[in-house]
Symmetry: C2
């Protein structure tokens, strides 16, 4: 019995099967001509000694890997879980695997992360949003990887973007609220406003209010991460002010749900005393006693299509450059405005 101090290689399989290493490689990858008899012998030998291919060596030699780098701002938000789920499903179908990291909405961390992920020589990379530093852009250009930018389409993509117009979502929400006769607004966001997409929604919202002559009394940005409790706290604070708004636009459903909690607990009527609107259309909203007015987003689909794009074999890169796929959104009129 041969003692294996290291993991078996193709050479070990080759010796066992009485063929050359290259023949083992051909059997494993299904390339080139192999007789049925040899194929069987090699398969049996590989199974017997428990051969597992070494993807590092494979990637090094063939200069390509079935890896796709995924850069997300956070995992602490179910939005990006849906996105990651879509990406993973698409990649898995194509035999690729995601390697990911989170930036926590920081540009420096994005630069660092992109650089690190590119050291794995992935065949593609998924970025969140369209705003990236020159450092990141240069690194990606030098690496020559395919890029999919998700969530946002308000801007010029490096290669291809799968998302929706964030400013249009802000606009649509404002229009809907204005149509209810609301005139005096407040905005509530979180994370020190580092979420650029939330910023774009706010901008669309703000512009639409201005055009209608309505007032945005205050823009409240918490330094804390988004959560229901934070939304509740912010709502209590906003409603305690002398110039109380008629409506609050939140940067997402979590904060808005916190608003609903505050109102329910304090006998504040929605929308009579205060109108509320959120963003994302998360599934748990269905279970709330009050239907939140919000904008439903195609989260899974963005991830899925981005994943499919990156795992599409040998596509014509030139054709895709600067293209945008608008996956749209859906304003859901609830009971809060």
């Amino acid at each position: 019995m041969k003692i294996m101090n290291t993991r078996p290689t193709m050479d070990d399989v080759a010796e066992k099967a009485g063929v050359s290493q290259m023949t083992v490689s051909r059997v494993m990858n299904g390339k080139g001509y192999i007789s049925e008899e040899v194929r069987g012998r090699v398969r049996a030998a590989a199974a017997e000694i428990g051969y597992v291919q070494n993807r590092l060596a494979r990637g090094l030699r063939s200069e390509k890997t079935p890896l796709v780098a995924v850069v997300l701002p956070t995992l602490g938000n179910s939005v990006f879980n849906d996105v990651l789920s879509g990406i993973t499903d698409a990649l898995t179908q194509a035999g690729c695997r995601p390697v990911f990291g989170v930036t926590e909405y920081s540009e420096e961390k994005e630069d660092e992360l992109v650089r690190d992920l590119l050291s794995w020589r992935p065949s593609g990379i998924v970025l969140t949003g369209l705003e990236h530093s020159d450092i990141t852009r240069a690194a990606i250009a030098a690496a020559g990887v395919r890029v999919a930018e998700i969530m946002d389409i308000d801007g010029t993509p490096i290669s291809m973007a799968f998302g929706m117009s964030q400013s249009a979502a802000g606009h649509a929400t404002a229009k809907h609220m204005l149509a209810q006769g609301l005139r005096r607004f407040a905005y509530a966001g979180s994370h020190s406003g580092r979420d650029l997409r939330a910023g774009k929604r706010l901008e669309g919202f703000r512009r639409t209010l201005r055009e209608a002559g309505a007032t945005l009394l205050s823009e409240n940005i918490s330094p804390n991460p988004s959560s229901m409790m934070e939304g509740r706290r912010m709502t209590a604070e906003i409603l305690s002010r002398p110039d109380k708004p008629e409506a609050i636009y939140y940067s997402n459903d979590d904060l808005a749900t916190g608003g609903i909690m505050h109102c329910l607990s304090n006998g504040v009527r929605m929308p009579e005393d205060i109108a509320l609107a959120g963003f994302n259309g998360l599934p748990f909203l269905e279970a709330l006693p009050v239907g939140l007015t919000t904008v439903e987003t195609p989260r899974y689909e963005m991830g899925k299509q981005a994943g499919q794009f990156l795992s599409r074999p040998d596509p014509d890169l030139a054709d895709d450059t600067g293209k945008v796929i608008d996956l749209g959104f859906n304003l859901i009129a609830g009971q809060t405005c």
Copy 2:
């Protein structure tokens, strides 16, 4: 100007800096003696030509990688998002990166996935639960990677387990419900019962009922994935039967929340007409008008500790074998029983 058809290597940096490739390697990895002057020259040269290390080559040569394989049943459940978040945080701190895949609660997919992930020669692997096929066990043993098993501690871990006792959670829930004077129960689960941990909870629940002489009228297992709508549908069905139970134990909070929705919509009082209990203690429960009785689980912490264990440098493997870290749980008595 030199034309780069391929990505720059250490040799390119070395040429530019007027040193040998090995010196570049030493500067990059901070190993061995390097004069300040040369270090500066190499750094500058690397920055100028945009050198990015090739982790495939590094891993191949050094026979180790900063990768950790992560095997989860699904991403479509915020439980595993929390877990993944904990794992990612711990690994990132230690300079490691997760490569993951999902099994969809299938043993065959787990076997396939583990095999595939091991081909990246990770330094560790995270598995969900303690039940794994002989194929997976053999593959892991042959690979010699460290293993962390998460979520469950009812059994014998391969190396180390970070979780909680699922059957104890089922027992605790049953005990609490029995203490409310409830005697006639139904169980509602999903996913064809493929979730082994839900099975263990049910078993603990069932046993405790039996010991108390109470009745488990029916065990309802939906073939569909868990969701609020599925829970609502199942609840409606269970309550429409002639032998209506006094209480329903759900396999998780999503299903239980669906039960709450059904009750609220149909004027069914909780707990008078029907008592409900869930599992997980997800954050959105706080926003519901009725406080669900549930068991809060240390999801993030399980992932975090598993990640820390796997990224701990050069630990004494022998010491950890078969060890279990019980992170406990917390029964939250709500208004539903």
